[in-house]
């Protein structure tokens, strides 16, 4: 079977256009619709010399717009995280949500919300993301420690998924406990952490997630060539001059930071990182440079679309976005599991 592939540059260009279109739709529609002239006027209100924004315009500028941008960034983070994990573990069914990174990060953030106030921890913008990263490191490390085979030190994928499942359950129950004892009921709910939502978006969140997403993707791209060599095996990559241990540590760290920071502001959103690289591989092959950029773009577009669906389905109320991503992601996951060509 000869594999027909499309031009990778063209795919990436098309994906950028799609992401922009979804962004436009996602700022236009929602609990209230904004017409295009209204969007223009609201943006113009930011310029000096214009009258102060009206209530509607403030809703647009302080709620709708940051949410749409955050959604793009979080989607990009999850897509990149999925591409990196799959490249690292040489398996197409690994994903940040499945191997525990996301739930650990959610646990770290929940712990910060509950204990942060009591213990009077720092109020810096970076405290919450830092707590999420620590949680993400903890759970990811736990999964890989437990899933490691005693004979050759490599994690088999079945063990990895089962361990991920157990660690996820552990951290989710810890989050349940934290939200149960939390004094501040309006702060966070269990639904927020377990199903994910972007309703808490703010410009501050956008700034923090933008830094981690862009920096993480840039670092990942530097190592794309080495990740490519890893596709033919760890031993073979070593023979091609790749320091495999060093590469593993760098990619795992980038992945934990990128995913944990996104999770800190949105809760656990599963399956985006699983589906996205897979679609791209079918279109344009397995080259990691293309996969990392493409996964960021596709993740951004897909999550924005999911958020739009989450906001429009029960308008003016909204669904947790994790419900939408799981509805799409679970069938893809099951299909992947049934395919024979992947070795478990």
């Amino acid at each position: 079977m000869t594999r027909r592939r499309w031009n990778r540059g063209a795919i990436l260009f098309a994906l950028s256009l799609v992401a922009l279109l979804v962004l436009a739709a996602s700022i236009r529609y929602g609990a209230i619709d904004f017409s295009i002239p209204a969007i223009g006027q609201a943006l113009a209100a930011l310029l000096p010399g214009h009258p102060a924004p009206t209530l509607d315009q403030r809703i647009f500028l302080e709620l709708r717009l940051p949410r749409a941008v955050l959604c793009l960034l979080v989607g990009a983070s999850l897509g990149t995280g999925g591409a990196l994990m799959q490249a690292l573990f040489r398996n197409p069914i690994v994903e940040p949500g499945l191997v525990g990174t996301s739930s650990g990060a959610a646990f770290g953030s929940a712990l910060f919300f509950v204990l942060g106030g009591v213990l009077n921890l720092g109020q810096s913008v970076w405290s919450l993301p830092l707590a999420a990263c620590l949680g993400g490191v903890l759970s990811t490390y736990l999964v890989f420690l437990l899933a490691r085979s005693r004979e050759d030190g490599r994690a088999s994928i079945v063990t990895l998924l089962l361990t991920g499942l157990a660690v996820n359950a552990l951290f989710m129950s810890a989050i349940g406990f934290l939200t149960y004892i939390a004094r501040d009921p309006q702060a966070r709910s269990i639904t927020f952490w377990s199903l994910g939502t972007l309703s808490g978006a703010s410009w501050r969140a956008v700034e923090v997630v933008a830094v981690s997403t862009l920096a993480g993707t840039a670092v990942a791209l530097r190592y794309a060539k080495q990740l490519n060599a890893l596709m033919i095996g760890e031993e073979e990559a070593t023979y091609l001059g790749v320091n495999v241990n060093r590469l593993k540590w760098i990619i795992l760290s980038v992945n934990v930071v990128v995913v944990a920071v996104a999770t800190a502001f949105t809760g656990v959103i599963s399956f985006v990182g699983l589906v996205v690289p897979h679609i791209l591989r079918m279109l344009g092959g397995a080259d990691n440079r293309y996969l990392i950029v493409g996964s960021a773009l596709t993740g951004a577009a897909l999550l924005s679309l999911a958020d739009l669906i989450a906001r429009l389905t029960l308008r003016p109320a909204e669904l947790p976005i994790g419900i939408v991503t799981s509805a799409v992601g679970v069938p893809v996951f099951l299909l992947l599991l049934r395919r024979r060509q992947y070795v478990f």
Binding site: N91, K225, E235, T238, G241, R281, G285, A286
Partner: protein, 258 residues
């Protein structure tokens, strides 16, 4: 010139290699034989610097291989393994191009493409160019990987180059084994590369090798030309089988075991 100088290797308290000293010359085909557990693969991995000896040194042109940088080593040393599984759908051409990784920066250049073309032609895999590697048979895959490994060494520079074959015949049928060994032989004759391989079949070893290294229980029992090394007494003692020598024309020894 490649030299192992008094190397030893242990896993836990089990000694896999002890005091192995052996030299390998450029342009010749060296095959390592021995019963299971003799330390053949361990020796190859140590010569290729995947493993580090606990004692002794591996010398490339007289210099300790541990001091070489990863990228410098990757440009002059390549290893063909038993069976390479790729994790994702890669085309055959992409797999061969992997061999050029240590040579190009971010993307392959025209020279890399040309080398890949030539090697795919040499190994008769040009027709598979755009095909998914995962759909190939074992014999086809091994040819593709041989092309990849030679693409890695394809640099007619002054530095001495080293090719290691770590049980490359394991998953091949008899026809593919012989075809594969003929390619190895042709390559060894046409180049000044130091070639060291591990094989199990004594007849293939006797027919194709310039030098045979017989390992037993982590030690070198004998090293030299096939006819010198493969004597009735040694085969009986090391492998525990009784050989019958059959005259086999110009292709050297032919052995039947009992």
């Amino acid at each position: 010139m490649l030299e192992a100088r008094d190397i030893s290797f242990k896993v836990g308290d089990k000694t896999l290699l002890s005091g192995v000293s052996v030299k390998f010359e450029p342009g010749r085909l060296h095959l390592v034989i021995g019963p299971n557990g003799a330390g053949k693969s361990t020796l190859i991995k140590m010569l290729a610097r995947l493993l580090r000896p606990h004692e002794g040194q591996v010398l490339y042109e007289g210099a300790d291989v541990q001091r070489a940088s990863e990228i410098d080593l990757a440009r002059r040393r390549a290893v063909l393994s038993q069976a390479v599984e790729v994790a994702f759908p890669l085309t055959v051409r992409e797999v061969v191009m992997m061999g050029r990784h240590p040579h190009f920066g971010s993307r392959p250049g025209a020279a890399d493409e040309k080398i890949v073309d030539e090697l795919m032609e040499f190994f008769d895999v040009t027709e598979f160019d755009g095909r998914d590697y995962q759909t190939l048979s074992g014999g086809e895959r091994q040819r593709v990987n041989f092309a990849r490994v030679l693409a890695q060494l394809w640099r007619p520079g002054p530095a001495c180059r080293y090719l290691f074959l770590d049980e490359p015949l394991t998953f091949l049928d008899i026809r593919h084994q012989i075809e594969f060994m003929k390619k190895v032989r042709a390559f060894a004759d046409a180049s000044d590369v130091v070639t060291v391989g591990v094989v199990h079949d004594l007849n293939l070893a006797a027919r194709f090798a310039d030098q045979i290294v017989l390992l037993n229980d982590g030690r070198v029992t004998a090293a030299g030309a096939p006819a010198e090394v493969l004597t009735r007494e040694r085969i009986r003692e090391v492998f525990g089988v009784e050989p019958t020598f059959v005259p086999a024309g110009q292709s050297g020894l032919h052995l039947i075991f009992d």
